[in-house]
């Protein structure tokens, strides 16, 4: 655990957007639209470029945290300024910096109202997302986690569609409710950790090294689950997502689908599997059931959608089901597939929301029935749309296939039935995606309002082309991407599924024996039954 670069690169990346946001907020007059746009675009682009330094210097051979920065912050309760990245987070960070830049580009002309506040929101949102992916101190993580919520709330609530307030509040309260449970779990860990070691710390890596008692793990897992499941969102906590997407402006949808949803699955991989491995084992049937329901249920619901954004929102729920499914297979293929699928879904859903946004800017409607035959007059748009659709349904040669294949393979090694059920989701996925494409792009150009739609201009093309290039790159040569994960994923597999050996019968369903954590110090409450300290904390939270 060190920092090969010798300077605080992670802090630089996190706070670069803030450095850009401050002059926009304080110095630039409200009406200088072009200046604000350019400042915002340059800031996000520079952040992206700087984040590329990480991948260039990234050591793929170790699961240790890299580029680590650690400073004491509130020593009395062990809060630290502690940042670091590994194979789990590196790609998500690059995705974040790239998608944010694209989101800024995409809102060039789409946002004309309160432009300054909009770009400041996006930049602060980026700070929150980057911080959450890099934080290795739970307090820090939690702060960044909540920081994300506020700008997103404003993005939906101010620049959204007709029902923006309802959707924004729903988004805010729902995710806040989830994160309150997460906070409780964090505090529980904090006290239990102190209970056993006498040390007050929020150091995530320290938590990963301690084998918490099973009942503590159980409650903590459940609380984390509520926090993450809302964010993913998993069935049945998903209903905020279609509303939020439908109302959010394009840039908001792009960031929401592209990155914010990944927070939940990132949380599962980073925390649930490593801090509460035994409980994670116990919860496998539960999570898998919800994932399979999400895959099939949300896929079927997509067939009934009339609004393009709603359709893509539900398809996100379905795709996120694959990610949670892969995560809880506890074998390298499943988890690597899930991690890659996070990136893939980030690319394809961002592309799809951009595509819907482009047509919305032209026609101010997203109803599928309003369109038809657009391929005739928008050939470039048609091609890019087709690539995004094909990426989304997992066509070999494009990124989605590699992720889905690995997830399904990992699943298959655990249970044939799960794999079969999940794979039916792929058939449904093809059906709703192609039907969407057919209804929008194929057929006769009949609606007079569509007759004079213009094809994409240069800026619009370049919001999509980087995504398309990455889709092909990951599809044809995923090795560099998978390489970044191997060490970290193997480490997690060892942690959560220590009996894992490559091969068919590798999966141990029964939970590990609960490891002892040493003699209890005298005078402390003994922990048995569904954890007393945890339960106490929970009651206080209500």
């Amino acid at each position: 655990m060190n920092n090969v670069l010798g300077f605080p690169i992670l802090s630089l990346i996190i706070f670069l957007p803030l450095i850009g946001a401050i002059p926009i907020m304080l110095l630039v007059p409200k009406h200088k639209f072009e200046l604000i746009r350019w400042l915002s675009a340059i800031t996000t682009f520079v952040t992206f470029l700087v984040s590329l330094i990480l991948i260039i210097n990234f050591d793929t051979t170790t699961h240790q945290m890299q580029f680590v920065e650690r400073h004491s912050w509130i020593p009395s309760i062990g809060v630290q300024y502690f940042l670091g990245i590994d194979g789990i987070s590196i790609l998500l960070i690059l995705l974040t910096t790239m998608i944010t830049f694209i989101a800024v580009l995409s809102s060039w002309h789409a946002i004309e109202e309160r432009l300054k506040e909009f770009h400041v929101s996006i930049l602060i949102l980026e700070v929150g997302m980057l911080g959450a992916f890099m934080a290795l101190d739970f307090i820090f993580f939690y702060v960044f986690w909540e920081v994300m919520l506020v700008p997103m709330y404003f993005i939906i609530g101010i620049w959204g569609g007709p029902r923006k307030l309802y959707s924004a509040i729903k988004f805010f309260l729902y995710t806040l409710m989830g994160s309150v449970f997460m906070l409780i779990a964090i505090l529980a860990l904090f006290f239990v950790y102190h209970h056993y070691t006498g040390v007050y710390t929020f150091d995530i890596l320290k938590y990963m090294e301690l084998n918490f008692p099973y009942n503590v793990q159980w409650w903590v897992f459940l609380a984390f689950f509520l926090g993450f499941a809302v964010k993913v969102p998993m069935f049945p906590f998903h209903t905020w997502l279609p509303d939020a997407h439908v109302e959010a402006p394009t840039a908001g949808s792009v960031i929401l689908a592209g990155i914010l949803l990944k927070m939940g699955t990132y949380g599962f991989v980073r925390f649930s599997l490593t801090i509460t491995p035994d409980a994670a084992q116990a919860f496998v049937p539960f999570i898998v059931t919800l994932s399979l329901i999400a895959i099939i249920y949300a896929g079927l619901v997509c067939l009934a959608q009339k609004d393009m954004k709603k359709l893509i929102a539900y398809s996100s729920v379905s795709h996120m089901g694959f990610i949670t499914l892969g995560t809880f297979t506890f074998n390298p293929q499943g988890i690597e597939g899930a991690l890659l699928q996070m990136i893939n879904h980030g690319l394809s859903s961002a592309a799809l929301f951009l595509i819907v946004g482009l047509i919305y800017e032209r026609r101010h409607t997203r109803m599928i029935s309003e369109f038809g035959g657009l391929a005739k007059i928008m050939p470039v748009y048609a091609v890019l749309f087709a690539v995004a659709i094909m990426s989304s349904i997992g066509l070999p040669g494009l990124n989605g296939f590699i992720g889905e294949f690995l997830v399904l393979l990992g699943t298959f090694k655990v249970s044939y039935v799960w794999a079969l059920l999940a794979a039916t989701g792929i058939v449904i996925g093809a059906a709703y995606s192609l039907w969407l494409y057919q209804r929008v792009m194929f057929g006769k150009l009949e609606n007079p309002e569509n007759m004079h739609l213009s094809d994409l201009n240069l800026r619009e093309k370049w919001t999509l082309i980087p995504l398309v290039i990455l889709m092909f790159w990951i599809g044809l040569y995923p090795k560099p991407f998978l390489n970044t994960m191997h060490a970290s994923v193997n480490n997690i597999v060892q942690r959560v599924n220590p009996g894992y050996t490559p091969g068919l019968e590798s999966f141990k369903v029964e939970a590990r024996e609960i490891p002892s954590v040493g003699e209890l110090p005298a005078g402390h409450i003994p922990i048995d039954g569904p954890g007393i300290p945890v339960a106490t904390v929970q009651q206080q939270g209500h």
């Binding site: 309760i77 400041v120 307090i139 939690y142 702060v143 909540e146 920081v147 506020v150 404003f154 729903k170 906070l183 505090l187 006290f191 049945p236 209903t239 905020w240 249920y297 079927l300 619901v301 067939l303 009934a304 390298p332 293929q333 391929a375 005739k376 050939p379 091609v383 094909m390 070999p396 040669g397 296939f401 294949f405 690995l406 399904l408 393979l409 298959f412 090694k413 044939y416 794999a419 079969l420 794979a423 039916t424 792929i426 058939v427 449904i428 093809a430 059906a431 192609l434 039907w435 057919q438 194929f442 057929g443 006769k444 040569y477 995923p478 090795k479 998978l482 091969g503 206080q540 939270g541």
Partner: protein, 674 residues
């Protein structure tokens, strides 16, 4: 040259990229055809050279780069060239070249000219990867790639709703097949840890039990039934005729639909391990052959007849594979590619001549107007009907012989009946369309013209091949093709078994006075039998549609055997059945779940929030009237106040942290907002 095999897919790739990126802006009707056609012809020439190298004994198996590496899974991107691939290469690049050439004429006035050639090149690349890949995942890569191109080309004229529907149907039905295929791959990986052909075929006989081999092969076969249009997943292929006719020739006759046959042949090591699967493959093939042939009898759309004929012929191929006659199955693939491509391109030429007319009832008497098309069509039809010495005769007969000599009389019977139907529908089509009186719409009649030589050239070449490639199988069971493919499938003598064979041996021994150990005499006899069957099919068509014998008036027969005729005409109502069983319930389920989502799940969420609001109202009410009202005495107030304060001073750090965090968030929010 064989070491440069990667050049074969490279040329069409470059062509696809150039046409795809620059076609619309810079080329439109110029150059995109030259680029695409030139590229695929170069590939064909390389394939030809490599073919002869393979004939003289070279093979190639090389990995170029790691494709997917994760955990214990290791899949490379690499090519394998052996006799099976070499012969497929000839078919794919050869037919593709001719179809490219033909399309220059056929698609000339189309707005999407460059787009068409881009898709054709993309298709060729995918198909080449499918047959050249050295592992199952690469096969799947090509498998899906051709599926995509098929989707794009069926939907080429996307302004027609039927074209869009057909394209989507083709893709989704193939996805159902892929489901099986992928699960088969997973089972292979989990059992053998690899997808590399060489390793799989080495390990499979050692490590797989018969049961597992059956499971793997059946799952893979599900994929094949979709891609190669077999029962129960064949329904997309007839609809696929919405695509331009050159596409039907290339993709839906000669190459893509044979991918399933190639897959089974490639996996013959595993397939041979499971008698159950072999039986199922043979039976599915035989039933499909007959089923589709009967449907073809009643169709009136010239392309649909040929499409059902394709389904039927593919059934023969699977029949051969399932009987263990891999060479015969692949050989039929080879000959079928030529005569069926010729038939489809011939259809295209007819449609071209008649300004788009596809209904054979509005044709008739075309022979004198488009002689070259008619003659080539006739040759291909004879090959399809299985008439000596045209190519189809040898390959089809070998499959039937495999059934008969193996004692599978029921399968042989089905195959023979289908052969009769094939001959009948082919010549029904021929007589109705090309002979007799013209029923052509008189507006169209003026314009009937032979196609340009860029279109008839490929027809002539294909007809020539359809007439001659049968020679590769001479002498029967011991020809070039048997030796060549025997390198892959193993050289084994057909042992003639079964009651009929025994009876025949005894009979021939009685007649000739000497016992014959080998079945050659019987084989020649059975050749005559199948020739007779085919000729009688042609004869019946001749009487019904050329001579128009009153006793065999088709319309009267259609009325008399109404139920059978309606079943044939409506394709046994399979599409309706699938709509009823799968499509509509799934759509309804989507709608139902959508309602459930809105009313129940989201309703619960909103209900909870409403409850919270109501609770807030009640608290507010209590605060205002009850609490405020009762807080009169200072003592009570102090007591109350201290109680609240005491609660905040618990000394619990978590409470402080909680409050602090919310404070931070709140303050940030306020600062930020104002």
């Amino acid at each position: 040259m064989i070491n440069y095999a990667w050049l074969i897919p490279l040329f069409p790739t470059i062509a696809a990229i150039i046409n795809g990126l620059f076609g619309r802006k810079y080329m439109r009707h110029h150059y995109s055809d030259y680029i695409a056609t030139g590229a695929v012809m170069t590939s064909f020439l390389i394939s030809l050279v490599i073919f002869f190298e393979v004939v003289s004994g070279s093979t190639l198996n090389v990995n170029y780069w790691d494709w997917i590496v994760s955990g214990d899974l290791h899949v490379s991107f690499g090519f394998l060239i052996d006799p099976l691939t070499a012969i497929m290469l000839l078919v794919v690049t050869g037919i593709s070249s001719l179809v490219h050439l033909y399309s220059i004429g056929y698609m000339h006035d189309d707005d999407g000219y460059y787009r068409f050639f881009t898709y054709l090149s993309m298709f060729t690349v995918s198909m080449l990867i499918l047959i050249m890949g050295n592992n199952y995942l690469l096969m799947f890569f090509g498998w899906e790639g051709v599926g995509l191109c098929s989707y794009l080309l069926i939907g080429f004229w996307f302004e027609k709703k039927s074209a869009g529907d057909a394209a989507k149907k083709a893709f989704v039905v193939n996805r159902v097949g892929d489901l099986g295929f992928v699960l088969g791959l997973f089972l292979l990986i989990s059992q053998l840890g690899t997808l590399d052909y060489e390793q799989v075929f080495q390990l499979a006989p050692i490590h797989l039990t018969t049961g597992v081999a059956t499971a793997i092969t059946l799952l893979l076969f599900v994929g094949a039934t979709a891609k190669s249009a077999q029962i129960p997943l064949y329904t997309w292929l007839p609809d696929a005729m919405e695509g331009p006719t050159p596409v039907s020739a290339l993709i839906h006759a000669a190459t893509m639909v044979t991918a399933g046959v190639y897959m089974v042949a490639r996996s013959h090591v595993i397939y041979s391990m499971s008698p159950t699967t072999m039986e199922i493959v043979a039976v599915v093939g035989a039933i499909t052959a007959l089923f589709a042939a009967t449907i073809a009898i009643a169709q009136n759309d010239i392309k649909r007849i040929v499409a059902y004929s394709t389904v039927s012929q593919l059934g023969y191929m699977f029949m051969g594979l399932g009987l263990g006659a891999y060479t015969a199955g692949v050989y039929h693939l080879f000959t079928h590619a030529f005569f069926k491509a010729c038939l489809f391109l011939g259809c295209g030429s007819v449609i071209h001549a008649l300004s788009g007319e596809q209904d054979i009832r509005r044709m008739g008497g075309l022979f004198p107007h488009i002689k070259l098309t008619a003659i080539t069509f006739l040759i291909a039809a004879l090959a399809n009907a299985g008439i000596f010495p045209f190519a189809g005769f040898f390959s089809k007969d070998e499959i039937l012989w495999a059934a008969f000599s193996g004692g599978h009389y029921v399968i042989w019977g089905i195959g023979a009946t289908a052969a009769f139907c094939s001959a009948f529908y082919m010549f029904r089509l021929y007589f109705v369309a090309f002979t007799g009186e013209s029923r052509v719409d008189h507006h169209v009649a003026h314009h009937i013209h032979e196609s340009p030589s860029v279109m008839t050239g490929p027809l002539v070449l294909l007809a020539f091949l359809a007439a001659t490639v049968g020679a590769l199988a001479l002498p029967p069971g011991n020809g070039f093709i048997h030796h060549f493919l025997g390198n892959v499938f193993g050289h084994h003598e057909h042992n003639v078994t079964g009651i009929a064979a025994e009876f025949f041996h005894k009979f021939s021994a009685l007649v000739t006075g000497e016992p014959t150990a080998h079945g050659h005499l019987l084989e020649y006899f059975m050749m005559l039998v199948s020739l007779a069957i085919a000729l009688s099919g042609i004869g019946l068509a001749y009487l019904m549609y050329y001579k128009k014998v009153e006793a065999l008036n088709p319309e009267v027969l259609a009325v008399r055997f109404r139920l059978i005729y309606r079943a044939f005409l409506n394709k046994y109502w399979v599409d309706e059945l699938y709509d009823f069983l799968f499509v509509n319930p799934i759509k309804r389920a989507g709608q139902g779940l959508w309602d459930f989502d809105g009313k129940i799940i989201d309703g619960t969420v909103n209900g909870v929030s409403r409850l919270t609001l109501i609770k807030g109202e009640i608290t507010n009410f209590l605060d205002k009237y009850v609490v405020d009202g009762t807080v009169n005495g200072l003592a009570i107030f102090v007591d109350f106040k201290s109680r609240i304060l005491r609660r905040t001073q618990t000394g619990d750090v978590q409470n402080y942290a909680l409050v602090m965090l919310f404070g931070v968030v709140f303050v940030m929010g306020i600062y930020y907002f104002y």
